[in-house]
Amino acid sequence: MRRVFWAVFRRELAIAGRQRGALVHQLLFFVLIVALFPLGTNTDQTVLIAVAPAVLWMGVLLSVLLSLNGVFRADHEDGTLTQYLLAGEPLAVIALAKMIVHWLASAALLVVAGPVLMLMLGVSLDAWPAMILTLALGTPTLVFVGAIAAALTLRLPRAGLLLGLLVLPLYVPVLIFGAGVVRAAIVGLPYAGAVYIMAALCVLAITLGPWAIAAALRIGLDA
């Protein structure tokens, strides 16, 4: 089981390493969403600070959602997924390895980029720890929960639109707590409680997520 985990882990890492362009694209997408916002509204500093947590989190949500759209497609098209299914090894372990690499390769960059963008929106440095903490706890949850729906819609036509419909409601707790923590940090309210809840959601998503992804893959391949 451990051997399977590391084999998949190394394979995914190698693939991600060869597609470095995709990583940059996702980061650019995130930066663009956030950067377009001040251009669309007026550049009044109080307005920007008030909406900054929401804008940053919406950017994160959308970038993760887009990155998940094709997460299983290549594996499905070249038959790797079918091999995984037939391998007789727990599919959940394979899913766990795959999603960890996916997080490292795509969402981890957002954790670094988020606070920098926050500074550009005029939020004071005091809110930095809150932003980094919530991004680090929130993005794994987003990846694991989103992958369940991505696996369900694996073979459907127009899967992208449906994926958004299914996943965004499930992302709401992360958005509420994540943006809430940052907003609380900006106005100086206590926010430890919401951080603990985000941590709990993260742990839950990592432990139960792989099982749900495995079940979803089996259903999705039938569709």
Binding site: V145, L162, L165, L170, V172, I176, A212, G220, D222, A223
Partner: protein, 254 residues
């Protein structure tokens, strides 16, 4: 009867439910047993809520909308929980009826959620001073509506009914995380929405004159949910099995 044979006959009854023609025939009889209490209870609640109950000491007559708002909000949560429960049954025991239940219950649950949101908005304007606030209880109820709509959308976009049923089962299970968040949102966060008026453990903060119509409403709405879902299941069943012989025979015989 010994306990052994009783267990055996119970198990036989359970297994017979796996037979779709049997369920189709017997559910027509069950529907009546749900429809009668639903109509009676809801009629009593409406009359009592509008006429018999005294006005509230603070909110006056406005509070009467509670008799629709609270039961539909309860049912919105209850329906989703039963869907998730049926989802577990559908995935673990591969029971076709459980899949059909999820598919049939989703639109009914979505309607109750929509009703709770609309009545809540109508109630909120005069009492809180706003139709809508983005606080925890209201927002999470709105998300529940989107979860229902997601299940419906997923079911519509997968062609094979078996796969669609299992996909919806999994999605309902994943979404059930939202139910405790809604339920406890008024306890965890100090929000505008009031706390629970009734609780199973503690006493209720409501006069008994006001309480009975509310409980009747909850019972009536539950029966209504069961009734509508049962009919939805029957329709689903006919559509799914439209090529099978037992459906043909029932259509030919009327």
């Amino acid at each position: 009867m010994t306990s052994f044979t009783m267990g055996k006959s119970l198990r036989r009854r359970f297994h017979r439910l796996g037979s779709l023609p049997y369920f189709y025939d017997v559910s027509a009889r069950w529907a009546i047993w749900l429809a009668v209490p639903a109509v009676v209870c809801i009629a009593y609640t409406v009359i009592a809520g509008l006429v018999l109950v005294p006005p509230d000491y603070q909110q006056g007559d406005v509070f009467r909308i509670l008799y629709i708002h609270v039961p539909s909000a309860w049912l919105s949560l209850f329906a989703y929980t039963t869907m998730a429960g049926a989802g577990v049954v559908a995935l673990v025991w591969r029971l076709k009826l459980a899949e059909i239940f999820i598919v049939a219950a989703a639109p009914v649950g979505a309607s109750f959620t929509g009703l709770a949101l609309v009545t809540g908005a109508i109630w909120g304007e005069p009492t809180w001073g706003t139709y809508w606030v983005w606080d925890a209880r209201l927002t999470s109820e709105l998300i529940l509506l989107f979860l229902y709509l997601g299940v419906i959308a997923l079911h519509q976009s997968i062609a094979s009914p078996r796969t669609a049923g299992r996909a919806c089962a999994l999605l309902s299970i994943v979404g059930v995380i939202n139910v405790p968040i809604i339920h406890y949102s008024v306890v965890w966060w100090t929000t505008l929405h009031q706390g629970a008026t009734l609780s199973l453990s503690g006493g209720s903060h409501m006069e008994s004159d006001m309480l009975w119509p509310l409980l009747a409403g909850a019972l009536g709405f539950s029966c209504l949910f069961g009734w509508l879902t049962l009919w939805g299941m029957r329709v689903q069943l006919l559509w799914r099995e439209r090529r099978s012989r037992w459906v043909m025979r029932r259509i030919v015989n009327g």
